[in-house]
Amino acid sequence: MPSPLQRICWQGIQFDHPADWELTRFSGPGESGRCLLADRFFQRLDIHWQALNFAPQLDLLIEKYRKNETEDSRSVPLEGCPAPWRGLLRRTPKGNFIQAARTFPQQQMLVEATIVWPDTRQVELERAILASVTLMPPGPARLWQAMGISATIPTDYQLRSVSTKVGRIRWEFVAGKNILPRIAVERIAMPEFWLKGPLRDWLAKELPPRHELKRQELAIWGNHRGEQLICRSSAGTLARLRGRWRMRLDMAWQCELENRVYHLEFEKLSADGDLVLPELLAVHCCRQGPAFDSASRRERPTR
């Protein structure tokens, strides 16, 4: 029975994949886009995308694919794939390989996909995957969804780093070239083993040194009860003379359904006082709507 499809949204592109194919490699900040997915045993789907300043000729690209042919493989044009995808089907003793490409002319984007079928080729699934590859629509905020995290981040924030320790995924975004303002989203597995006390104690311990705690309180986002704290640290002599501090807001909540702790950080240079979160910032958990979003936070009073 085929597993249900899941969606990955990464660096401006989105596509569907079977739930048992998991992301094993992905492009970081400043790299051309790539997502590599594998099942338990084999690499299954590899998607590359890059913006070009010219219109690529798919015929030449497919000819290049054909040159990779070995003695024991036989390539035929890929038939019935959703337009405007074009590609090759390569039959080898180890299985079938699909190499396909398409362009998005308006955005001058070239997308290439490789699908590996080690045993039976599932044509319908293959077509569904190719048809689902689209560019994210432009807008003030963009959805990032992969590795279990789903977050809507304002478009002016760019990915700065990704950390994928076992059971602990962390994405960091910055607006512009400076390190501030900064948003970090973290999702941590197996809290029953490492969360020995209340969430508030853990959150306070997560703060870097030389941060002065201003306020810590219980808060409710969606159907989750969590903790939030505001602290500040020095941003240098000049900034201090201008009355500006590195203000930092930390939020954490435990999603019982996913058995994960979510941790959201927002840091910016600002005058001492409350922090205003970026509009449209949202972190989704339980996959039933946002657990936290900056708009609802202002409406719902904290406890």
Binding site: D20, E22, L23, T24, A38, R40, F41, F42, G148, V166, G167, A189, M190, E192, F193, E258, N259, R260
Partner: protein
């Protein structure tokens, strides 16, 4: 050792082979459970031939190697019951802790290799034999 056997032992282990192999715990080891869920495991080790009295009175040599396991490590060791494959161990661990297969696979594969190196577990099957002490 026959060349074919040697070749088999040193051939690279593929993901398929490893996942389909079965981890067995060392029957000679003694496990002392701790209240926090962790465990202290003592594995008998051969006594060095050159250490005998009175030398052994001056340089006492332990007859056991002791390995301390955290609660999560103990859970994984308990899952190695000689019936489950590595894939089965990962599946069970992932299901119990709401992890994806890949998340559990990375940590458990690494941990099983450490257990093999310390002689707690031997992984058998799929054409590859990983022998513990």
């Amino acid at each position: 050792m026959k060349p074919s056997r040697q070749k088999e032992l040193h051939s690279p282990v593929t993901a398929v082979t490893f996942l389909r192999a079965v981890p067995y715990v060392n029957r000679a080891m003694e496990i002392t459970r701790r209240p926090d869920g962790g465990a202290l495991v003592a594995i008998p080790i051969p006594r060095p031939k050159l250490i005998f009295p009175p030398l052994s009175w001056i340089f006492p040599v332990s007859s056991h190697r002791r390995v301390e396991l955290e609660p999560l490590g103990t859970v994984v060791l308990d899952l190695c019951d000689g019936r489950r494959t590595v894939e089965g161990v990962i599946e069970k661990f992932a299901a119990d802790h709401k992890l994806s297969f890949r998340e559990a696979q990375l940590s458990i594969s690494e941990f099983l290799h450490q257990l093999v190196a310390r002689g707690l577990v031997a992984i058998v099957g799929g054409g590859k034999v990983s022998q513990s002490t």
